[in-house]
Symmetry: C2
Subunit: 226 residues, 2 copies
DNA sequence: AATGCCGGATTGGTATACCAATTTCTCGGG
DNA sequence: CCCGAGAAATTGGTATACCAATCCGGCATT
């Protein structure tokens, strides 16, 4: 069946618990799930399970085929689309951010960035939810940009989770994020846009590697596309 | 209480019925709603009502303040953000569309466009749901672009509904849409991008006008922002 | 042995019952 | 007349019961 994660009734809400189970590959990509099985596993009734599943479908971690649910497989094609999309939207977002961000906002991002980097635990990294890119997008003062980036960021959540397993990957990310933030602070819109594109390209490669490495752990159904 | 729309139990699913009630201003922007009141009005149990409300919150037609629901007021600031976002994303989408669209896809869009224009009924226009912009975005073969445009299009749904009350507004829209589609067909990526921007600007003005005109019908809570 | 049909088990969708928290109303004291 | 305390009603959140559709397996027939 499944491992240790979700048996005793945590305090955390069911959405977080389910998401964690998916991200940690406790629930296998490509595998079918049913509301009732989850109800039994997580010891909550179907109503909140259903609600959580809605969110997870929306976030792309669960897919529906007709009436039945399945854990979303890794979709290489989708990942390419996500990064292509980000390359359109994120440069525009940081250009605006470079114009509009206040020093306080920048400091706040830098603080939580360092905080979560120095004392890294999967739960914290996940709980904080809004990550760097979403918070930068928020600096653009355009909620559409912010939520679009958030949606799209969520779709690579599992892959990033995989690639964040190594301290090295985290360090690279932290360095590039710092650089972007500095450029925003310096009001260098074009520089920030370029840095974002470069960062995107490197993360894209990392993510694809991480999935390839995880390929062995997953059945043929676990990875699709391309 | 409320007008004629939703009393007898239609066949249509509750999400459509609720959305229609909101779009037609049967449910007043800014007004509080409760699951139980809707349950009584629409003669379905709270479970599907909750589900529908979840979708409507996601689409921006309903807002949550703490635990309670309210019909989303028109938000002028949000509308500006929506159009700013579209001006970033849509040109990129049609550029890709101009590269990738097949003649069949273009013909399909043109057909349903003319179809829904010639024999216009509010229900059909609404039911078809995916409208021109979303379908064009789909031509980019990037699902992120498609869903981002869809999300953002939904957020101006009520405003466009208002502006589509006049045959004149519909005709203008139809003409501009045709022009964009022709440019895509001609593989003129830059021309299509320019046409989209021009169209966006004109629609933006139309939409703001429509809301201003509707201002009188709505209480102070019905319009916020700016 | 292969196939097709039937029945039970499982599924998601819906209705309803129950609860705790919040809001609203009322009524008494100042 | 105003204000506040407490009770009653209303709210969203959750659990559960019920239903119809679907899926699956086994048995009978060929």
């Amino acid at each position: 069946m499944m491992a240790s994660t979700g048996q005793q009734a945590d305090e955390r809400d069911i959405l977080s618990r389910l998401r964690f189970a998916i991200l940690s590959l406790d629930l296998v990509p490509g595998e079918a799930v049913s509301e009732r099985a989850l109800e039994a596993q997580f010891q909550v009734s179907r109503t909140p399970i259903r609600e959580a599943l809605f969110h997870l479908v929306r976030d792309g971690l669960v897919v529906r085929d007709g009436r039945s649910y399945a854990i979303a497989p890794f979709d290489m094609a989708e990942i390419d689309e996500v990064f292509a999309f980000r390359d359109i939207v994120e440069p525009a977002a940081v250009r605006l951010a470079a114009k509009l961000a206040t020093p306080e906002q920048i400091a706040a991002i830098r603080h939580s960035m360092n905080f979560s980097h120095e004392e890294f635990t999967p739960e914290r990294w996940l709980e904080m939810g809004l990550d760097f890119h979403v918070r930068c997008a928020a600096l653009s003062r355009n909620r559409c940009l912010e939520t679009a980036l958030q949606d799209v960021t969520l779709r690579t959540l599992r892959a990033r989770w995989l690639s964040f397993a190594s301290e090295e990957g985290r360090a690279t990310t932290h360095r590039e994020h710092s650089a972007i933030l500095n450029l925003i602070e310096a009001r260098d819109a074009e520089g920030a846009a370029r840095a974002v594109l470069a960062h995107s390209a490197s993360v894209r490669l990392e993510v694809r590697d991480a999935i390839e490495n995880a390929r062995l752990f997953m059945g043929r159904r676990g990875i699709v596309g391309e």
